[in-house]
């Protein structure tokens, strides 16, 4: 278990990689973009992205914009 900040909210999760975190939180992995600690993590790199306590994860998806 580790505690990470997901979209500004602290969560204690049973996930060691970003890929697992997306699965755990039931995100559509194809349709979201991810960043960890302010750095883009591409889809192809999520499996290898190890999460550590205190990491800040942003999960963004398409929405309306002007």
């Amino acid at each position: 278990m580790r505690t990470v900040i997901v979209n500004g909210e602290e969560k204690t999760v049973n996930a060691s990689t970003l890929d697992q975190l997306l699965d755990l939180l039931d995100h559509e992995a194809r349709w979201v973009a991810t960043a960890v600690n302010g750095e883009l993590i591409r889809r192809s790199d999520r499996k290898g992205c190890m999460l550590a306590d205190g990491d800040s994860v942003e999960i963004l998806s398409p929405m309306q914009g002007g």
Partner: protein, 257 residues
Amino acid sequence: MLDIYGVEVSSRLLLGTARYPSPKVMADAVRAARTEIITVSLRRESAGGKAGAAFLDLIVGLGVRVLPNTAGCHSAREAIVTAQMAREVFDTNWIKLEVIGHHDTLQPDVFELVEAARTLCDDGFEVFPYTTDDLVVAEHLVEAGCQVLMPWCAPIGSAMGPVDLPALRAMRAHFPDMPLIVDAGLGRPSHAAAVMELGYDAVLLNTAVAMAGDPVAMATAFADAVDAGRIAFGAGLLEPRDMAVPSTPVIGKAVFS
């Protein structure tokens, strides 16, 4: 046809997708505007949320090109990461670069904007910078690699219309071959026609359509106004004069004495 980063488009109206009463009204307005380019954004998705995927399905169904934005970013760093994330989701190098510098006016922080534009252009992005009508800033954006400029004509969502026509005219004259798109501040179709009559290549708007009593009808009105302004510019507009000039020929006029 308008050439933007090597893509030819016939519509000179770019439309935002925010603040419509419903997704259906937004889709109908996009069709009524005859637009070929819509702006979209990225936001945090809650766990298990499917709103993003649903929105993506909707816009894919519209068959238009997508211009993601970095709305809400206040630093070059934020805007750069947001642009990279947008490229990942929307699969395009296009990015409408916004770096907001002031909470009340939503005017761009032009220093951060130029820095972000330079980094993104170097990274292969095709940047549409939301900027002011300042020629010095515009020069720096072009030097950074931007091949389109998007000056505001008034603060975002203000509906004031072009508040400084001489400045917009000067920008057009200074960049005769650069695609110039007026972004932000348009409130009425007549505003859009006015900037198109100056020779601007296109306009980008959102609130004036989305918040209208009838967004679909307003989208049609803006599309017609943009076309009218463009045709008028090409037709050669008469310069204003201080004194009257008779429109009816005076030669052959009867003389009664």
